[in-house]
């Protein structure tokens, strides 16, 4: 140091070397225990206001597959969960002869579904017993469920977070970290394992969802009908702007090719393959996005199905009367909506499941009817 002017000033009094007083290690224990109690009590109280919501994820589906022998495998994003309801109906109506197993990759896309199929599901399909016979030999149908988002691909934006979050094993994570270092993409694996560790905690599971705040707000100062409508319209505009991005990222060749490969894989295995487009909530589409996102997507997917020669069920708008009240949010059905759609599908487009019918591979019915 060359001049007194450059000497660092002291920290404010009581701050520099101040350590909280607290009765030694017992004090530390009391501080931690009280903090833990406070967090636990808050979590319990908040769970009463806003209970955690659980949905079936890839891991649940794989656990089910371990001890099930399904006849129909459904791949898709969150929308595949409708087939859990359809599974119950099909089992009831066929006395358990037909069993549908859905593998819902939340916020997935075709490349994601393909990864899950080959890395997580196929090993279970192909698993053999000591005699060399398939452990689960009943699979005879493959259903691929899609919406426009599944063919969307923007490199890094949004990051493809669904795979590390929901489908990776620790080995997949470690290999990716070794290759690329720990980054925002593979960190999703760690985040989700952290959520799993605190399964049941609303404070942990609500991170990023803000449902607790909304529920508290509803309790303390409920929004007026007018304010609710304003909020709804604001969110609707947000959702519509997401769909508008489909004009840029939609029908991406990489994703369309992945869809084609999934269908081909099913055909090569000798399965009855169905490609289904899931219903959309009508108000979420403006005339612009209907014409420039949705219609091109429907056409591209129809082309893929025709080229591949598989059954094509386009339930985007032709879906047995699914309408706004059947949706719990902008793209997921209510429980009653799932029932309604499943009933309609089993009565019409998916009646082949109840019949036990299996179309021979490489036949097509692009009209969406039964082959």
């Amino acid at each position: 140091m060359i001049d007194g002017a450059f000497q660092l000033p002291d920290l404010p009094r009581e701050m520099a070397n101040e350590s909280p007083k607290g009765g030694g290690w017992r004090g530390v224990g009391v501080v931690l225990a009280t903090a833990a109690l406070m967090i636990g009590a808050s979590d319990m109280a908040l769970r009463r206001v806003s209970p955690p919501k659980y949905v079936r994820e890839v891991a649940d589906a794989l656990a089910d597959y371990e001890h099930e022998d399904p006849t129909t495998l459904v791949l898709g994003s969150s929308h595949a969960r409708t087939f859990d309801v359809m599974d119950r109906m099909a089992r009831e109506r066929t006395q358990g002869r037909e069993r549908i197993l859905s593998v819902p990759l939340e916020a997935g896309n075709f490349t994601g579904f393909e990864w899950v199929l080959h890395h997580r599901v196929e090993p279970l399909i192909e698993e053999r017993d000591a005699s060399g016979a398939k452990k689960r030999p009943s699979l005879k149908r493959l259903v691929l469920v899609a919406v426009w988002w599944d063919a969307c691909f923007v490199d890094g934006d949004p990051p493809n977070f669904n795979l590390p979050s929901r489908a990776w094993t620790f080995g997949d994570f470690a290999a990716d970290v070794a290759a690329h270092g720990l980054n925002d993409h593979n960190r999703n694996y760690v985040t989700t394992r952290w959520l799993d560790l605190w399964h049941g905690s609303i404070l942990v599971s609500d991170r990023g969802h803000a449902q607790v705040v909304e529920a508290l707000h509803d309790r303390v100062k409920p929004l007026s009908a007018e304010a609710k409508e304003k909020q709804f319209q604001f969110r609707l505009r947000g959702w519509q702007s997401i769909i508008e991005r489909g004009k840029i990222c939609g029908d991406h060749p990489k994703e369309v090719a992945a869809a084609d490969r999934i269908l081909k894989w099913g055909q090569d295995k000798g399965y009855d393959v169905t490609f289904m487009l899931y219903p959309l909530r009508p108000i979420t589409l403006s005339d612009d996005t209907r014409q420039n996102v949705q219609v091109p997507f429907q056409k591209t997917m129809r082309d893929v199905a025709e080229r591949r020669g598989v059954r094509f069920v386009d339930a985007t708008f032709d879906n047995g009367g699914i309408d706004d009240p059947d949706f719990q949010d902008f793209d997921h059905l209510t429980a009653a909506g799932h029932e309604k759609l499943s009933n309609w599908l089993l009565a019409d487009k998916f009646a082949f499941v109840l019949d036990g019918h299996v179309s021979s591979p490489h036949t097509t019915d692009a009209s969406g009817g039964r082959p």
Binding site: A5, P9, E14, K21, V30, S42, L182, G208
Partner: protein, 483 residues
């Protein structure tokens, strides 16, 4: 890996448990810390780990060479002294060149590549390279000048160089840290409580304040000139809040995590927004960097045989330009550094003049301590600091100029989305954080410090609940990691 991301909750408990369950011997503790730190580094980029280790070994070889060739005693023969000095200088130059070439290579090749259109592929900046290079060079230079004895243990040296809490962004370790690694460490209860407080406050600043303040910042800086004057002003205040909370918060996390291993790192921020003159501000902001720059750049320039011997004011300009270039190799950073250098220079000249007035008439001394003088000094200091953040944040000088125009003249019609109250609360928290450190709050702080353990536990619990509800997802990303 980062101290403010979710992986810390898996990594830290394991290292903490192993560290304290094994025998409390310095060697064992250093092995645990080094292993954990190298793993921490490897999770960022395992391919660059050999480079990190190699440069660590080169510097250790230099330190050992200093040990083999100690500086000659004052009464030693002239030729012996000259010989030893020459040998030691060669080793010093080897260390300086190897460190600075690697640092400059990674930090500035990208800029030359762009400037000269060399077409080289982009190079990732090794994690914390600026910070660990400065830590090492400080020790090497101090050893060369015989201020400290040469480090004898390779393990101590690697532990010092790689200690994971400070690896990404400091605080830049100095020689006193080396002494800590040479002794076995014991964790006192009072230190554990202090660590909890540092981590708690650090998380609030980092994952709540910095993240929410950014919602005022990013849209306006992305399209300067498009927004209203008020939006520009909010973006600038938001950025001052963000950049402080981001770095001070991360530094507190580093201090708290290090303290959990009974390692005491140097403070990095000392309530900088309480400063009443620019010199004071730079002694309170990023203290470990500025101390390093003044000790190893400024002092060498303006003292002894330095090429600017005695030119203290001009030295300030140059050292701040160096600070700007250290932050980044683009013109906005250079301008930012130059602005601060000139500002310090002006203050230095003013201070000399004021001191001469004080010598003539002691009433000037009293005036300097008066509330209006301090308030004016505070407003000028903080005002200038905030204004100078424009080139620091802008992506180009053109954007900075557009932002200034928008700030002064307005011009745009876009307003910031009212959204939530969180950005305003974030600013308020930074204000309160500083206000509580002022002397007239001593008694309040003392009362809280002396509060029964359950009360402090409740506060800690509430802070955690608050963060879990209101800290946005993905708020752990750390701005200063890029430097």
């Amino acid at each position: 890996m980062s101290l403010s991301e979710v992986e810390l909750f898996f990594f830290f408990p394991v290292v903490f448990a192993v560290y304290w369950l094994l025998p409390r011997r310095a060697v064992v503790q250093n092995v645990v810390l080094t292993t954990a730190s190298l793993f921490f580094y490897a999770t960022w980029n395992a391919k660059l780990l050999p480079l990190f280790l190699l440069s660590t070994l080169v510097d250790f070889a230099v330190l050992r060479a200093f040990a083999r060739t100690p500086a000659a005693a004052d009464d030693a023969p002239e030729d012996e002294r000259a010989k030893r000095t020459a040998t030691r200088r060669r080793w010093l130059i080897l260390s300086l060149v190897s460190n600075l070439v690697v640092l400059a290579g990674f930090k500035y090749v990208g800029a030359f590549n762009k400037l000269l259109a060399l077409g080289l592929p982009p190079i990732a900046l090794p994690l914390g390279i600026s910070f660990y290079t400065m830590s090492r060079l400080g020790v090497i230079i101090d050893t060369y000048y015989d201020r400290i004895p040469p480090v004898r243990s390779l393990l101590v040296w690697v532990t010092f160089t790689s200690f994971f809490p400070q690896l990404i962004a400091g605080p830049i370790g100095r020689t006193d840290l080396l002494e800590q690694y040479e002794q076995p460490r014991r964790l006192e209860a009072s230190s554990a409580l202090r660590a909890l407080r540092e981590v708690g406050v650090g998380f609030v600043l980092k994952v709540y304040v910095a993240a929410h303040a950014s919602t005022w910042v990013n849209p306006v800086f992305a399209e300067p000139g498009v927004y209203t004057r008020k939006a520009h002003l909010l973006a600038l205040i938001g950025y001052a809040t963000q950049v402080f909370a981001d770095f001070a918060g991360y530094s507190l996390l580093a201090l708290g995590v290090a303290r959990a291993f009974a390692v005491s790192l140097p403070e990095n921020f000392n309530f900088p927004f309480l400063s009443t003159n620019p010199m004071e501000l730079w002694r309170r902001w990023h203290m470990s960097l500025n101390r390093w720059l003044f000790d190893y750049v400024y002092s060498f320039m303006v003292t002894g045989e330095g090429f600017m011997n005695g030119r203290l004011g001009l030295g300030l300009v140059i050292v701040m330009i160096v600070s700007g270039i250290w932050h980044g190799s683009t013109w906005p950073y250079v301008v930012w550094g130059a602005m601060h250098g000139l500002w310090l220079f002006a203050h230095y000249r003013y201070d000399l003049h004021y001191k001469s007035l004080c010598r003539k008439d002691r009433t000037w001394v009293a005036r300097r301590k008066s509330a209006p003088y301090l308030a004016l000094g505070w407003a000028a200091t903080i005002g200038f600091f905030i204004i100078a953040l424009v080139p620091f944040r802008a992506s180009s000088l053109g954007d900075a100029a557009t932002f200034f125009r928008g700030l002064v003249l307005g011009g745009g019609t876009e307003t910031l989305d009212a959204g939530t109250m969180h950005p305003a609360l974030a600013v308020l928290l930074v204000v309160l954080y500083h206000v509580q450190a002022m002397p007239f709050f001593d008694s309040v702080r003392a009362r809280f410090t002396a509060a029964p353990a359950p009360v402090r536990g409740l506060v800690l619990g509430l802070v955690v609940v608050f963060l879990m509800i209101f800290a946005p997802v993905g708020a752990g990303t750390f701005i200063y990691a890029q430097f």
